[in-house]
Structure formats: structure tokens, C-alpha cells
């Protein structure tokens, strides 16, 4: 019984063990490198100055306040639009839809939207919102484009959390004579709110990281404008600004500073989504 595995098998096992660990290590290493490198290059360039001013050609200074605000504006407008639509669609699918075929069609459409690359959304957004509807490239056209793009995220997460609401709550409310909408409003939605919030956080993450869909719908504008004007004024978000500064302006240091901000946002968004997700799980137990 002291017998050992053949050399060949020991080599195989050894190699595979090494490979598997190497693969995992590579994945982690990549991430650590990315975070480390970006922070290393980006943090020195971050200053209050940069965060609170706009780029000036006369004074020869750089600043990304307009881009921070544009990002916020787009998040605001897009979420304000996508939230009711997405939640509404999810409610329809889980609570109302009578026809299985319609549900399938809608779910298929949602899936299809998920797979479409953002450059296509950018193209169609430009054709439809900017050219056809005559909106100037700006926060509004950009947000509308993003609404189409992130709708599936909101629909899917909402749908999942609606499904997780115990049927007995619905029965309880119905048994007391509550109408359907009343029941949804008073017992279903309040219990699905964590999932809806998770969906929103994920959607915000996609908005923050989006660039291709915004180039020709929200534009490249780097000027500080107020919210109302920004709706129809070319407005570059942080990601677009990063692209512009990195490739067009040659402002590598600034690009890394923006990247640092974006990485930090991504980190926060992921943690927030995970935290809400955990609460969701605990709450439902």
C-alpha cells in the first residue's frame, strides 16, 4: 500500500495544481496591478484644485469639475427615467402579465438589449435622440440613450426581488380585500425595495463607467454649465473626459487622476451593491 502514483500522474497533478493557482493568482494580480498602478499614477495629481475648477486655457490649468457634475446630471436624469420604467416593466412581468407569450417576448427583448454593445446604443442614440428628435448632444440625449442601455439591469434585479417576496403576503393583502395595485404598493414593493436599490446601484455603476454610448449623444463639452443648460449642451462625463484627456489632450497625469476617481467610485458602488445584496438576503430569511 505504500504504492505511489505514477510519475506521469504526479506530474499532471502537480502541473494542474500550479496552473489553477497561477490562473487565480494572475486574475488577482491583474486587479492588484491595475488598482495599484492607477492609484500610484493618479493620486499625486489629485488636488482640491482639480476637483473644483474647470480646465483653463488662459491660465493653463486643468480641472474636472464640469465632468464630475455632468456625470452626476446624467446619473440623475437617467435614473429618474429608468427607475419608473424598469420597475414598472418588472411589476408587469411578475404581477400582471397574463400571457406567457408576451412575457417571453419581453424577456427576450430584455436579454437582447443586455447583449448589445454600447457603441450601437451610441449610434442609435445619435440617430434617434440627437438627429431625429432634434435634441442637442447633451445630458438629456445621453441619459435617454443610457436609459435604453441600463433598462435590462433594472428590470432583471427588480424582477428577482419581486419574485422573492413571499406569496403569502400577497394572499394576506388580497384576503383583506386589497386591490391589486394597492397590494403591490403596500406589501410587495416595500419588501422588494432592497433588490430595487441593488439594481439601481448596478445601473449607476454602468452609467459611471460608460463611454462609447455617450461620445456622440452627450458630447465632449468640458465647460461648466448649470443643470438646465447641460441638458442640451455638449457635456463630457468623467469617462469621456478621461478618453479625451488621454488621447486628445495628452494630459496623461490628469487622465490617471480621473481613472483614480473612477476606480474609487467603482469600488464604492460594488461594495454598496454587495452590502445591500447581503441585507436583502438577511431580510428575506
Amino acid at each position: 500500500m505504500g504504492e505511489k502514483l505514477s510519475l506521469r500522474r504526479r506530474v499532471y497533478n502537480g502541473t494542474m495544481t500550479v496552473l489553477v493557482r497561477l490562473g487565480a493568482a494572475l486574475t488577482c494580480g491583474l486587479l492588484l496591478f491595475l488598482i495599484g498602478y492607477i492609484f500610484y499614477r493618479g493620486i499625486p495629481g489629485l488636488s482640491w484644485e482639480i476637483l473644483t475648477t474647470q480646465t483653463s486655457y488662459i491660465k493653463n490649468t486643468v480641472g474636472i469639475l464640469p465632468n464630475i457634475l455632468n456625470t452626476l446630471y446624467i446619473i440623475l436624469v437617467a435614473m429618474a427615467l429608468v427607475l419608473p420604467i424598469g420597475v414598472g416593466a418588472a411589476i408587469y412581468l411578475t404581477e400582471y402579465a397574463g400571457s406567457a407569450r408576451l412575457v417571453r417576448v419581453i424577456e427576450f427583448a430584455t436579454e437582447t438589449l443586455t447583449g448589445i454593445p454600447s457603441i450601437i446604443f451610441g449610434l442609435v442614440g445619435m440617430l434617434f435622440f440627437v438627429q431625429k428628435m432634434g435634441l442637442q448632444a447633451g445630458v438629456l440625449a445621453g441619459s435617454l440613450t443610457l436609459v435604453v442601455m441600463i433598462l435590462p439591469t433594472v428590470v432583471r434585479t427588480t424582477q428577482e426581488s419581486l419574485k422573492a417576496v413571499p406569496q403569502s403576503y400577497r394572499e394576506g393583502a388580497t384576503g383583506l380585500g386589497a386591490g391589486k395595485w394597492h397590494m403591490i404598493r403596500t406589501v410587495v414593493l416595500p419588501n422588494a425595495v432592497d433588490g430595487i436599490v441593488t439594481g439601481c446601484i448596478l445601473a449607476v455603476g454602468r452609467i459611471v463607467s460608460e463611454s462609447a454610448a455617450l461620445l456622440y449623444t452627450a458630447g465632449f463639452g468640458m465647460v461648466l454649465v448649470n443643470f438646465i443648460d447641460s441638458l442640451h449642451t455638449s457635456a463630457a462625463t468623467l469617462t469621456v473626459a478621461l478618453y479625451v484627456y488621454a488621447t486628445e489632450g495628452g494630459e496623461t497625469a490628469l487622465a490617471f487622476s480621473i481613472a483614480t476617481i473612477l476606480m474609487a467610485l467603482t469600488l464604492i458602488i460594488n461594495l454598496a451593491a454587495a452590502w445591500v445584496g447581503r441585507r436583502l438576503k438577511n431580510g428575506k430569511e
Binding site: Y169, R170, G172, A173, T174, L176, G177, A178, V187
Partner: protein, 251 residues
């Protein structure tokens, strides 16, 4: 006295499967009627036809009539929310909403448009008292209902049902998940309630049916085998199958 509820030749299908066959039966007002029968025989299904809770399940087809005060509740003109307000329901598994005890009881009245703080307070107290749980919860009305024990939760659900002042209370194995003490509290409660309400209950527990009900209906495979005064049905079952069942020979 006229029966308050009356099923007439009621058939029900889940998709292609017929779950109820030609049920005809009267439920007298201000009495307790118990439905018994082996698992899967259609007791719950029939109970839920009485306040149209089956509407919620897709693929259900119903034929025949259920008359409430002589009026067919399956008429298109009937608003099921109004119906369900008048025929309340308590479920097998206590299902309080994840809100405060107060809000649970106030949910129904609020749904039906009562907003006044004082009026609501009164209703909540009265309902909780009727459900014999007031003393246990009066100091924690604002606490989550999910913190109550199983038996308390079930009585809370009864209170919640009573708060909309129904005429009939349907109870689907309302005690089967409970310990004996909670069970006997709810049984006592049912007996008390019948002075004001009509109670229809599904039970797996024949002793329970025998103890507290006035009438008993025995179901088998989706059919009503026999219905009658409880003492009579248990003492002199008319049908061989009823006898087999109540003497424990099957089910």
C-alpha cells in the same frame, strides 16, 4: 335560517385537471362549519372558491355558482375586493406583513379608506381584543409583527381579518402549524367568534372538527361525500367512505 353561503354544482379545474366535482353545499350563518378529508381532496381549493381567492391562480376555470346572501359571487359585476372584505380569510401558515403589529391590523381598514387616527386606534384595539391577543401585544404595538411567536402571529392574522368587519371568516388549517396551547386558544376564539361571524374552517384534525364545529363536510377526491351536523356525522356516518376516514382506516 337561510344559508349565508351556498355552492351550487361547483366544478373547478386547474388547467386540465378537475379538482372539484359538482359540489353543492350550504353554509349556515353564525355557525362553525368544518371541512375534513385526506390531503389533496380539494378542501383548500373549495374554501378559496368562497371568496374568490382562486382568482389569483392562473389557469383556474370555475363552473357553477357560489351564492353569498343569495347572490352569485362569480357574476362579472361583483368586485372581488368588496367580496373579500366581507368574507375574510386566515391561512395555514401565519402570514403577518413585515410591519408593526398596529400596521398589520390597520392595513385592512386603511385599504378601505379609513384614515382617522382615533378611529383606527379603536378598530385595532377592538380587533386585537376579539382575537384574544390584546393583552399580549398592547405594549408593543409599534414593534414588528415578525417578532411574535407562531401562535401569536396566527391570532394577529385573525385580528387583522376581523378588523375589516367581515361576515364570514374562512380558516384554512389555521392551527395546523401551532402547538397545542396556541391551538386551543384559537379554537376557543373560533367558538366565541361565531356569535358575530360565520366561520368556515378546513382542518386535518378530526378531533378539532368534532370539538368545535357545528357542521362537518367530508371531501374525497374533489367530491363532497357527505355533510351534516357534526355530532351526527361522526356518530352515524351515512357513507362507508366517511366511516373509513373518521375511524382512521385511510388518509
Amino acid at each position: 335560517m337561510d344559508p349565508i353561503l351556498q355552492a351550487k354544482d361547483l366544478n373547478l379545474w386547474y388547467g386540465a385537471n378537475q379538482a372539484l366535482h359538482h359540489i353543492t353545499l350550504d353554509i349556515p350563518a353564525h355557525e362553525i362549519t368544518a371541512f375534513i378529508g385526506p390531503s389533496g381532496c380539494g378542501k383548500s381549493t373549495f374554501l378559496r372558491t368562497l371568496n374568490r381567492m382562486n382568482d389569483l391562480i392562473t389557469g383556474v376555470k370555475i363552473q357553477g355558482e357560489v351564492n353569498f346572501h343569495g347572490e352569485n359571487i362569480y357574476e362579472p359585476s361583483v368586485d372581488p375586493t368588496v367580496l373579500r372584505r366581507r368574507i375574510g380569510m386566515v391561512f395555514q401558515k401565519a402570514n403577518p406583513f413585515p410591519m408593526s403589529i398596529y400596521d398589520n391590523v390597520a392595513y385592512g381598514p386603511r385599504t378601505h379608506g379609513i384614515r382617522g387616527r382615533k378611529e383606527l386606534d379603536e378598530i385595532v384595539e377592538r380587533s386585537l381584543r376579539s382575537a384574544a391577543i390584546w393583552d399580549e401585544v398592547k405594549d408593543r404595538l409599534k414593534k414588528s409583527a415578525l417578532g411574535l411567536s407562531g401562535g401569536q402571529q396566527q391570532r394577529l392574522c385573525i385580528a387583522r381579518a376581523l378588523a375589516v368587519e367581515p361576515e364570514v371568516l374562512l380558516m384554512d388549517e389555521a392551527t395546523s402549524a401551532l402547538d397545542p396551547i396556541s391551538t386551543s386558544k384559537i379554537e376557543d376564539l373560533a367558538i366565541e367568534l361565531k356569535s358575530k361571524y360565520t366561520v368556515v374552517m378546513v382542518t386535518h384534525n378530526m378531533q378539532q372538527a368534532a370539538r368545535i364545529s357545528d357542521n362537518t363536510a367530508f371531501f374525497l377526491l374533489g367530491e363532497l361525500v357527505e355533510m351534516g351536523k357534526t355530532e351526527k356525522l361522526f356518530a352515524y356516518p351515512q357513507d362507508k367512505r366517511t366511516e373509513d376516514y373518521i375511524t382512521g382506516r385511510f388518509g
